[in-house]
Symmetry: C2
Subunit: 117 residues, 2 copies
DNA sequence: CTGGATCCTCTGCGATACTG
DNA sequence: CAGTATCGCAGAGGATCCAG
């Protein structure tokens, strides 16, 4: 069923591969999460909430799940008390670095400058 | 008021410039529209609706407006009857080519292949 | 031909309380 | 500590009719 959903999702937007990527890394917080993981390599759930003060727990939780099921990041849970869970990027996630960098650079060159002028 | 909204939008996501760009080119159809304009250079409203069969008129209309107000594309209306309106990318819009290409390539390498296997 | 006006649905996002 | 459960809101996306 999930498989179907993905395939459907892929074909619905005029077979445009760009939309596929935007669906995966898009949204309000996912880019930020990926960006943080690119910098910090490994982060715990609580650390992310501190690094992204505005995010709601539920949203972070769901974002991480989706990124995991898309193969972008890897979730490692340690059977301890209290529990510890570490998130890090997969190879696929690392391969987004170029894109994330470009997105960042573009906005700095094309949006931020404007606002200062 | 619009200015306030933009500035607020920029600062809300932990000052992350990536989100800014995603906000501009994100959404279900905007990437497709930009991609089409990169290829075709100039398109009329009706032509876009034909190239993107699934899109609702209102959505296309709003997407074009937003892209225009973000300075991505240029709207040229000809005072004729029946009216003719042409859309083309601004220099700022053209500068997105690199990003669009990367997004496309990434999905082809990381998503499509998987589905075929 | 271009798109505004209207009404509707669906889901992404958010805040708080609670649990293994 | 790392989440789930629950409730709620606002906006994106959509279908249809109407107008300059």
């Amino acid at each position: 069923m999930e498989e179907e959903k993905k395939i459907k999702k892929y074909y619905q937007a005029t077979d445009c591969p760009i939309t596929v990527t935007v669906d995966i890394i898009g949204g309000k917080w996912k880019p930020v999460i990926i960006w943080l993981l690119l910098k910090e390599k490994t982060l715990r759930f609580g650390e992310i909430t501190k690094l992204i003060p505005g995010i709601a727990l539920k949203v972070l939780s769901r974002s991480l799940k989706e990124l995991e099921s898309d193969g972008i990041l890897i979730r490692k849970a340690y059977p301890e008390v209290p529990p510890r869970v570490e998130y890090s990027l997969s190879a696929k996630g690392e391969s987004l670095k170029q894109i994330i960098d470009l997105l960042s650079i573009w906005s700095i060159e094309n949006v931020v400058v404007e606002q200062q002028v």
